[in-house]
Symmetry: C2
Subunit: 127 residues, 2 copies
């Protein structure tokens, strides 16, 4: 089981927290929100992302509890069985995070080139 291996690159994991730990909100939850907005249902959103409904549902719930606000408005029953859409707050968080994320990643690329790429490229040759 060999892994893909290329040049050394910088990676990043961003999240929001009120106690220093991860789990409150991050890229995973962000993709989930985006998928819910597109699909209109937690189940289809989860399927599209290749996760189980159980996890997606739990993620939403834990995030809402942690933030103290609702991210989605859910309905059950009816001809379609039910549906889920983002609240206004959910949409704002989705968009704010997207901009935030892109800004930080750009900064990361720049800082990497500035402070580490030289050392690591040189390293590639010498090894």
């Amino acid at each position: 089981m060999k892994k893909e291996s290329g040049p050394v690159r910088p990676g990043i994991r961003l999240y929001l927290s009120d106690d220093g730990s991860e789990g409150m909100f991050g890229d995973g939850k962000w993709r989930l929100l985006r998928s819910i907005e597109e699909e209109g249902s937690i189940r289809r959103a989860a399927e599209k992302l290749g996760r189980g409904y159980r996890k997606a549902w739990g993620d939403i719930k834990r995030t809402e509890n942690a933030l103290g606000r609702e991210l989605v408005r859910k309905t059950r029953g009816g001809p379609t069985g039910g549906a889920t859409e983002l609240t206004e707050f959910g949409r704002e968080l989705l968009e704010g995070w997207q901009r935030y994320r892109e800004a930080v990643m750009e900064g990361m690329e720049g800082a990497f080139e500035l402070h580490l790429s030289g050392l690591l490229e040189r390293s590639e040759d010498e090894r």
Copy 2:
């Protein structure tokens, strides 16, 4: 077991990778290198950081394998039992990472203020 809970703040985890996964190098390994430089031994470095020697030793080894270069020079035996010091590459990585890390974190703070703090502060009031 209640957790400390304050305002929502941005968190970050930085790492180096050649295959998208974490584990090659990050803040944990960086602190370990710094501690080794200060203490002159893996054992004392680990103790100072509150980890076991077993883990510290394994971390160094895995990182060296992943980067394909040696980070430390180790000696065994003698009156002191042995010692470990950083290689030139180890020192450069230590310093480069420190500068890289600080630059990215500053960028993160700025981006957070710009794109998310307004939304989240407003959220604090309303909840």
